[in-house]
């Protein structure tokens, strides 16, 4: 409470100069250099951030002030939060030999890379996601893709990955790797993807 009075008095003394009682928001480019969008809505103002290092500060009167942050400013304020960012999730894709339960030769190598990545991370958790091609409707593909994911989960559990660290998901036909027309059988879309976190 005392701090609030102090800030108020300070702001009166400084005649409307910025106080520390503000939000500070900065949009960053992602690893590929692309930027997204963040819309900042305060009591009386709004700012759309959609360029790298676009920044917004809320003002004591409830508004929002748009600016651009310098990289050194970002480092000064956010170094600890940035240093604590978890490793980026990684994705691995596995295929079965057609007609049986075996991974393809290439996928056996991919499993080795998956296990190596998991070993690099501390207490990692993974999601096993089944995908289908664009043959058939959503419900049957959802069920089929989940079955595939469950099968891979049991294989990975058999390799010693604790089952409670493995989530499964059936994404069905919603995310084809190779875009095709409706009803086209495409083996490259019938896959299992593994996200390691």
């Amino acid at each position: 409470m005392h701090r609030h009075y102090a800030a108020l008095i300070a702001s009166m003394v400084l005649g409307g100069c910025a106080t520390s009682n503000q939000d500070f928001i900065v949009l960053l480019p992602d690893k590929e250099g692309k930027v997204g969008t963040v819309v900042v809505q305060s009591q009386k103002g709004k700012a759309v951030l959609n360029t790298a290092y676009a920044a917004a500060r809320t003002t004591p009167d409830g508004g929002v002030q748009r600016s651009t942050a310098s990289q050194s400013e970002v480092k000064d304020v956010f170094a600890s939060a940035l240093a604590a960012q978890p490793s980026r999730p990684m994705s691995f894709i596995l295929y079965f030999e057609s007609g049986n339960d075996e991974f393809t030769e290439e996928s056996k190598q991919e499993v080795k890379r998956l296990l190596a990545e998991m070993a690099r991370r501390q207490a990692p958790d993974i999601t096993v996601i089944g995908h289908t091609d664009l043959v058939g409707p959503n419900p049957s593909n959802d069920a089929l893709s989940l079955q595939r994911a469950e099968r891979v989960k049991s294989i990975l559990a058999g390799m010693g990955i604790p089952a409670e660290r493995i989530l499964t998901a059936g994404r069905g036909r919603r995310e084809p790797l190779i875009p095709t027309a409706e009803g086209i059988p495409e083996p490259r879309n019938r896959r299992v993807e593994i996200n390691v976190r």
Binding site: D23, G36, T58, G62, F78, A81, D125, D142, R171, R197
Partner: protein, 151 residues
């Protein structure tokens, strides 16, 4: 006859309770700590719990860091949040459908610093992810940004 029916109902109840328990346990885990440094803890239902790498989070948990603390959290939709020292971050709502990628993710940075890398929820539905502070609401349409909230 009455008692037989009662027993049958009771059996069903027991079977039902046993079958939902593990599912409920799974569904409530929405994230894990991937990084912890210094003093970091969770507030859950009025209790204070220590947070370490691998500790699960549930929707409505609050993450608190001390003056020497920082923490990184990975959510099941691949959203990544990390907080710096002297931070209070409340997870207010988290729902994720891993089949459709529809969901809702609302968190509140009461004070401190936050870094966000949005995941599948924000990618699927542009208005599904929000970060609040005491003085503003951030609508997240992707992907990486930073927030400081000073009280």
């Amino acid at each position: 006859m009455q008692s037989t029916r009662f027993i049958v109902i009771r059996w069903f109840l027991v079977a039902f309770a046993c079958s939902i328990a593990p599912i409920a346990g799974w569904a409530s885990d929405i994230a894990q700590f991937r990084v912890t440094k210094g003093s970091v803890y969770l507030e859950r239902g009025g209790q204070r719990l220590p947070a370490r790498v691998g500790t699960h989070l549930q929707a409505t948990d609050t993450v608190v860091t001390g003056a020497d603390g920082s923490a990184g959290i990975a959510f099941i939709d691949n959203s990544l949040l990390s907080v710096g020292p002297n931070s209070v971050l409340a997870i207010e709502r988290y729902a994720f459908n891993s089949t459709t990628h529809e969901g809702a993710f609302e968190s509140s940075l009461r004070r401190g610093t936050l870094s966000v890398v949005s995941g599948k929820i924000a990618k699927q539905s542009p208005d599904a992810m929000k970060v609040k502070t005491p003085s503003s609401v951030l609508g997240v349409r992707g992907t990486e940004f930073l927030v400081r909230s000073t009280d």
